[in-house]
Symmetry: C2
Subunit: 428 residues, 2 copies
């Protein structure tokens, strides 16, 4: 607690400290906006070098976090743990981000007007991005680097469990900025575990925070979505559906289902509900559910699913609304494609939904009518990921309808402005 | 008041009425999302016909509004007033919007992944758009039509001064929807003057409102920006700057200045502050300020501007922060381009700012460093308008950094989704 007080400058100063961070970030962002892309890339490479050189210090800091965090569950403990391989992966990821094309200054659209004006829509940084995350310390490097690459200043608020690891990684980013003469406030770490710091970020730091990205559990995301006075890039949950159509290929359906559910069960792109067309239920349900059950996945189903395999237990209405993030799935038979779409629109979270079918018309209808950020045809829902989309990393996945939807990569971390060029035109 | 109570179903029911409107709009929007573009275009043409056939009724309704609205100022009275020409223009505008290309279903980006997945980003409607406006009754038709064309349902809340005109115009839109079998709740008019209706819209109608567009004075916009729990497309003010650079062409500077300030003084793209490079002050300031003063524009200036013409009065610091929306301008000399950018970044509203120069490098620097939605070179700031940009109309101009920035036309009334197509791919 003494250490904390020292960092806070006394708990009563949290609002002042946070407002100061906001002002410094805004000033730093203006410097970033005018910095050459090469300078930013060099900062990222320097930061990667610093991470490699600091491996011992980072692992020491991580050991301290693990020693202090005694009541974490095994999954959270795993997310918190760094080893030499994970530190190397952090450094490589910084270099990979440096290699990506600069997302700022791209001409997004251009049009010539009859009066001779030329108008261009050109990408610009968003401004100052706040990232609030929990126990994963590598978010520090990933989020800070993606924001820097896109010309944004970032204000990072890591979880209190990972405070030492986060500080050690942040110090490497700062060394990268410093080495190339960029302001170190371009990537600011909130120097306090105090809960009020989050409240200040939610309030927008006097207009010095343009967007918030929460990375963590549902409680964190729900709080940020409910209380933030600035736009939020996030998804509350991924209640992902796989619909096996009347015209599905059975082998594809099984492979896609098993991968979508079980490749990793804790990711937002993991499928949570299986819908099967009535016509295929008798022939296909035992095989599909058996494939999951044999691999240790629990199934909660409607009457047809229960009949298909004795290991299936009856689903309640709550199951259709549940994101298990575990080796559990809900399964039901639907009368047709329309009923599948209705189910998804009624219970889904507009994140990712997939149809398995050889009928291109059915696929087109499904992909038009399902109102989700990502709609898929004949592919695993676990491809819902910025890296898999070729975005070179993502800061999160969003289900909002404005600005950023689906994986939030460098492109979504940009805004735009219009450049209008004339030769003295006046408006009649 | 009896009439009002009747429409409200009793004032206590306003929240219930508004929530019902939200639910109906959401359902109507799903129908719109699946309607062919031709059907939507026919609805707009039918609505235009209905407006023409209803000219007498619309003018009667407008006369009633004008008779009831006794304490309006002349500008507000003018905005409220319809005549046969203005009604014809409303009908023509509906037809013009019908003629525009459909903004939904456009492929915004597409990429093939090494694993054979193809990914498309495709435009979709935003959802349900709320429009809160004041005395301009034609916003009813423009906003309703732009939302309909982009597949969005709209909930329109007109000003209490224009209630009869607004109802008469809305009835024509409803006739258009009805004629082609689209749900009439696709364009809903809030049937109450009750102030609580706005509060319900600000709260988001139980998730059935996706974005709010306030159209009106600064007090309305400020309230919506401060209280809305959904994204807002708006600008609070247009504190527009014109910077006359060291390398400006004198004739262009004068023509652009006079047009930018005086073509129409009450629009958000009208210039409010003139900045002149020190090197040109002595030669150019008397001519530039004289051109404005001779046309009846008041000038509030710094010491150099006061010396340039005896009719100039001294500016206070408040003048640099004032959007006059009138025949008044503030004017000052700046040391150089950097000082001009600093002034704009310190006092501006990030709406529209312009440089007059023959130096392309200076223009490029200005347009890179000024962080406004629209940056211009050698053109009147009054071109800041969706119609002038070729958007075929606008629902407003936004200065936010997310999603919509600058003129908000059909493209900005769209969101997007990703369509991912595979052939059975699973993720390793």
């Amino acid at each position: 607690m003494d250490g904390l007080r020292e960092q806070d400058g006394g708990a009563g100063d949290v609002p002042a400290v946070m407002r100061g961070i906001g002002r410094a970030a805004r000033l730093a962002q203006r410097a970033l906006a005018n910095a050459p892309a090469e300078t930013i890339d060099r900062a990222l490479v320097e930061a990667a070098d610093a991470v490699r050189r600091s491996t011992a210090a980072i692992l020491d800091a991580n050991a301290r976090d693990l020693a202090e965090a005694r009541d974490l569950g095994p999954a959270a403990r795993d997310r918190l743990t760094l080893d030499a391989d994970r530190v190397r992966a952090v450094a490589r990821s910084l270099e990979d981000i440096a290699e990506l094309p600069c997302p700022v200054g791209r001409i997004l659209a251009s049009f010539d007007r009859p009066n001779g004006l030329t108008i261009e829509r050109v990408s610009t940084p968003l401004g100052v991005v706040g990232v609030i995350y929990e126990s994963r310390p590598n978010v520090t490097a990933d989020a800070g680097a993606l924001c820097l690459k896109s010309g944004n200043a970032s204000i990072l608020r890591g979880g209190s469990d990972s405070v030492h690891s986060t500080r050690a990684l942040h110090a490497c980013l700062v060394r990268g900025l410093d080495a190339v003469g960029l302001p170190v406030a371009a990537i600011s770490l909130v120097p306090t575990r105090h809960r009020d710091a989050v409240g200040e970020m939610l309030a927008g730091l006097d207009g010095n925070l343009d967007v918030l990205v929460p990375r963590g559990g549902k409680a964190l995301v729900a709080r940020v979505q409910a209380e933030a006075r600035v736009p939020v890039f996030a998804h509350l949950e991924g209640l992902v559906h796989l619909y096996v159509d009347a015209a599905a290929d059975a082998d594809k359906a099984e492979a896609i289902l098993v991968n979508s559910k079980l490749r990793r069960t804790g990711v937002c792109g993991a499928v949570e509900t299986l819908l099967v067309h009535e016509k295929r239920a008798e022939a296909l349900l035992p095989r599909l559910l058996g494939a999951l059950l044999d691999r240790g996945c629990a199934v909660r189903g409607d009457a047809a699913a229960c009949r298909a395999d004795p290991r299936v237990t009856p689903a309640s209405d709550e199951d259709w609304r549940t994101e298990y993030l575990d080796a559990v799935i809900s399964a039901r038979v639907v009368a047709d494609l329309d009923a599948a779409v209705d189910h998804i629109e009624s219970y889904g979270s507009h994140h990712t939904d997939c149809i398995v079918t050889e009928d291109l018309q059915a696929a087109a209808t499904f992909m038009a009518e399902v109102d989700s950020a990502i709609v898929m045809h004949n592919a695993s829902t676990q491809f819902a990921d910025g890296g898999e989309f070729g975005f070179g990393g993502e800061i999160g996945i969003a289900t909002g309808r404005m600005h950023a939807r689906g994986p939030v990569g460098l492109e979504q971390l940009c805004s735009f402005k219009y450049r209008v060029r004339g030769d003295g035109q006046t408006r009649p």
